[in-house]
Amino acid sequence: MIFHKKTFLMKFILGILIFSQVAVPLVARAVGTIPFGGIVTGVIPCLCSGNFLIIQKPVAGPAMLMYQPGVSRLYQYGQILVPGTQILGNASVPVPCVELIVIFCVPIYTAPLITMVGTSGIAGAIPNFGGPNGSANPNSSGAPPGPNTPSPTGSTTNNPCSTNQSQSSAGYITANEGWRNNVYVDSRGNPTVGIGHLIRAGESIPSGYLTDTQVRNYFNQDYSRAVNDARGAADRHNVDFDSLSPARQTVLVDMAFNMGTNPNGLTQGQQGLDGFNRMWSGIEAGDWQRAGQEVQGSGYYGPRADRNAQIMATDDQSLINQQINRDPRSASICPI
């Protein structure tokens, strides 16, 4: 058989083109991206294949993924090898994890190769924020207090879902604080979890993660304490808390939740509700403009303070409702 080189080449190229019309889309679909997201629960170095098997608790995508240094593109915060971090990215074709077992290289698993991945900061890995020796408080073994736990001060327990007013306050605080199931560090460097629940010395969250029910239970206790604190502060400044409008009560409870009541905080910005003397004077005198101005006048600043100042001055409940409606979880803090 005699070939004409030119003709054969042209037909060969034509053949490739025809087949590529069929093959390329199929291959492209087959190796398409697999979006994934979850929390890293384990990392296995695959010594013979030079990569890592990442085990995640998936919210989306597969439970096993392969991370190949130099191939998988890392994005902020780059903590893919740290158990407890949240990861989010795309994976592609399956590649093997080949592990060194005794003296043999053995493929132990095949999982999609991560093509790109971003990670969270390391928030959940703070199990040792307990006592000075990292020992857990025997009274807080990770299980939060129940909703009807008496307040440590002996004052009354306030169920955040008992009335429309308290539902509104609870939703507003939730919207301001945000809802986090995992432990994080707040703006002052304090380990925090749930709805702004400060993890105090002696208290620990062993897994670094709370269920929604645990978040609610912590919140119930913190909310109850904040209401009692706001009432107590009002009493000390000759203000009848119950005579205030629901919106202004909400502002005071939110401030107590956020700052506590201690008037002698370590810094100007950390003083509590009792330290806002000129605000209390304004409330006592019914001078709401002044009271609103003084909400911001003691080192308390930011969007939350601005909003509270405006509500204190104008008694505008719609500002509270707007804030609640921005976050569906705030509206659901008191499930019907």
Partner: protein, 164 residues
């Protein structure tokens, strides 16, 4: 005849790819579209994604050395570090309570894959044909303290049991 022959050649070249593609199509490539995907859980996950607050006062200028193996002592130079307690993200874990005597330097030791490296070296000695691969792994270093999180620098971790 020539056309059939050229098709035969191209089939030989591309056939395996097509078979691979067709077999792979039997499994879903996009898990977000599978019934097991929980949209509410996904929204919760995104909402709770932890982004540390960026520090305005803390900054990493350099790390020294910028590469090394397990046991390497790394110095982070910069400004704004807490004198008693900093959290160092090492890319493979977290080191807490790292002090900075002058607020400008942090010192810590890289302790990554030390067990695996030791095992690999033992096995490498016992097996001349060991296929253990040398790896060059980027470790993203950050410092976090009460002011927030710093910028990052990359430490190149070198895993090579035959050279260690």
């Amino acid at each position: 005849m020539k056309i059939i022959f050229s098709f035969f050649i191209t089939t030989l070249l591309l056939g395996p790819q097509i078979l691979l593609a067709q077999s792979s199509l039997a499994t879903p490539v996009n898990n977000l579209s599978t019934p097991s995907f929980d949209q509410k859980a996904w929204i919760d996950f995104i909402r709770n994604f932890y982004y540390p607050r960026v520090s305005r006062t803390m900054f990493i200028e350099q790390i020294s050395p910028s590469f090394g193996s397990s046991g390497t002592v790394v110095t982070i130079s910069g400004r704004g570090f807490n004198k008693t307690a900093n959290r160092v993200y090492t890319g493979y874990g977290l080191i807490e309570g790292v002090p900075s005597w002058d607020g400008k330097h942090l010192i810590f030791k890289i302790n990554f894959l030390s067990g695996a490296m030791g095992n690999a070296m033992i096995n490498a000695k016992s097996n001349e044909n060991s296929k253990v691969k040398a790896m060059r792994i980027p470790l993203w270093l950050y410092v976090e303290n009460e002011t927030g999180i710093s910028n990052n620098r990359i430490f190149w971790f070198q895993f090579d049991p035959f050279k260690s």
